[in-house]
Symmetry: C2
Subunit: 140 residues, 2 copies
Amino acid sequence: MSCGLAYAPQLRSLGYRITPQRMAILHVLCHSGKHLTPRDVYQKAKKDFPTLTEPTVYRTLEFLAKNGLARPMQAGKGRLRYEMAEDDHHHIVCRVCGDEIEVEHELLESMYRKMESTSGYQRIDSHVTFFGVCPECLKT
Amino acid sequence: MSCGLAYAPQLRSLGYRITPQRMAILHVLCHSGKHLTPRDVYQKAKKDFPTLTEPTVYRTLEFLAKNGLARPMQAGKGRLRYEMAEDDHHHIVCRVCGDEIEVEHELLESMYRKMESTSGYQRIDSHVTFFGVCPECLKT
DNA sequence: ATCTTTATTGTAAAAACTTGCAATAAGGAA
DNA sequence: TTCCTTATTGCAAGTTTTTACAATAAAGAT
Ligand SMILES: [Mn+2]
Ligand SMILES: [Mn+2]
Ligand SMILES: [Zn+2]
Ligand SMILES: [Zn+2]
């Protein structure tokens, strides 16, 4: 409930408004496990703010992502999940069992620099999901 | 119409069946531009095979991807598009204007090896979409 | 040719996500 | 406080994607 307020000045300075819906959603993202689906967020935030609706959740998550407060993650099958934006990292998801691990961005950093200088693209997103096969599933 | 047949022996040897729906969809993927949406595929393939339905298209695309004939691509907002699986490559998409370029897999190869040895995950997918800002959009 | 097995499809409905628009309310000005 | 502007929301309807299950038809055996 209060943790959302920490972001209020930043949002207000950009000309955005502080609404209870946004605060409730930020609260959920801050205090829950990572990578929540829009539905997860909706159901949890609804407890704080019962008149919340689903379109607002989708729009708010996209809004927070666009402003760098939240980060979208590509879960399997092209579905998006969200988490608060903290330190840069990536994920590898097992395409067999769904198991998921984190990878330090450091490991990809020199590749990112090469990719940026080669392509001319900048500010490439440092939260990518790779799909592979985990050690367990490789055994069988 | 005929190009799908090229894949028939491979599919049959895995115990799968050759259906006109699959052939029509393979035909579309072979002869059309890259990265088609399921809806693109549906509308084009319907011309060859008018009784085709959308659930079949979704299932078939997923089926082809699982068997390595097609490749899913993460388009913006967590939407999937598909293309035939050919040489390994990646994409960078501009998160401002949507412009899109290809990146040789070669550029990422050493990073992939590091990631595989560090994580123990193998067969990591070599068709990733990165999001960044293109040179044009960087100017403004 | 006919039969049998079962992978694959279509149907119908549900779930997930998006959109347009009118109503609301946040934040600044008076 | 009250008023004004307009960003944001809720509502209702639309579109996209998934699912369960019964009907169909591909492929191999007879
Ligand atoms: Mn993450
Ligand atoms: Mn591609
Ligand atoms: Zn696994
Ligand atoms: Zn651009």
